[in-house]
Symmetry: C2
Subunit: 198 residues, 2 copies
């Protein structure tokens, strides 16, 4: 199989920009898949900040990270990702984050009525753009198989289409003959060309 | 820049399935970019078949391939790609082609009124599916910046959505904040699971 699983594809993109010792955000911790992935890459000298509104998600993630020996470099917050990140993150990280991951929808094996929603997702994405360094990446995995999923995916895509180029490059990866397969959006914050020429 | 140029991305996919000594088709030769790329990969022991309806395209491509020393493994045909491939290709290649590339639209620096069109493009794609081996790939680069381009792209995407899964896996790669940037579709002909279990 040559065409990649889109969750793996998101990880491959992140590997391109996140160094050992780097700083990343998992904006939707869930069961901690991406948090663990990010923690392994940044290692003990880096930092991963993880947000989720559900205590159940954070407990499961903490347990998983501890059992794999990667909790030291991770800070978990029970915090709605659309709230100001400045209340949680050190100010010197503004425009210095290497990567932000979003995995939308609901918590697998959790309450399917607790879902991410268009307005708060986009508010969180706006903050991610602001906190990201030049050359950094945001990945968003979108789901349409649950109630509200299609509406959220469409809102996110519309918002992406509104972002200015060349400040941001954005790619959608979408399966064409599978209903409700997840899609992947990658947003790259481009280097300021004027800055590069100085 | 982490996000790839989609023409390069198409090549990266093709590299995964096309071996030295393999057989590939460039269904839209144009100025020979993809033909040359395919010819370099298959080498002297492989074969590339190239179709185009314009003599101008075939002459430019032949000249380019000859100057780079890769014409030996290439056979060029002034032939509409929607016509039966069985009139050109040896019958033993049926279901044995490793890769087929399409780069739609019009010939760069040529007559912009001579364009690929929905009905003939899809007829050619249908044949590509039939001639492809299991595990082989079709890549299609779609353009919407010329008259008729959007209509063609929409027809191709609609046709892709109608193909059966799991026989075919299909991924669309699309820039979200650039009007008329090309898009890339990759179709993978999956191995027959029943056959694999025998």
């Amino acid at each position: 199989m040559v065409l990649p699983n889109l969750l793996h594809q998101a990880h491959e993109y992140i590997r391109c920009v996140l160094p050992a010792g780097g700083v990343a955000i998992d904006a939707t911790v869930g069961n901690g898949n991406d948090t663990l992935f990010l923690a392994k890459i940044v290692g003990k000298s880096g930092t991963v900040y993880g947000f989720d509104i559900q205590d159940q998600a954070l407990r499961a993630t903490r347990k998983r990270l501890e059992s794999e020996g990667h909790m030291k470099q991770v800070q978990l917050f029970q915090y709605p990702h659309q709230q100001p990140w400045s209340e949680i993150l050190p100010n010197q990280l503004r425009q210095n984050i290497d990567a932000v991951m979003f995995n939308l929808g609901y918590l697998p094996h959790g309450d399917p009525s607790i879902i991410t929603k268009p307005q708060s997702t986009i508010a969180a994405c706006e903050q991610a753009l602001e906190w990201l360094r030049s050359g950094g990446l945001i990945t968003l995995v979108l789901y349409t198989g649950h109630k509200g999923g299609t509406e959220e995916a469409e809102s996110v895509l519309k918002w992406c289409r509104s972002l200015p180029h060349p400040q941001f490059s954005i790619m959608l990866h979408q399966r064409l003959n599978r209903t409700h397969a997840p899609s992947l959006v990658v947003i790259e914050k481009n280097f300021d060309r004027k800055m590069l020429c100085q």
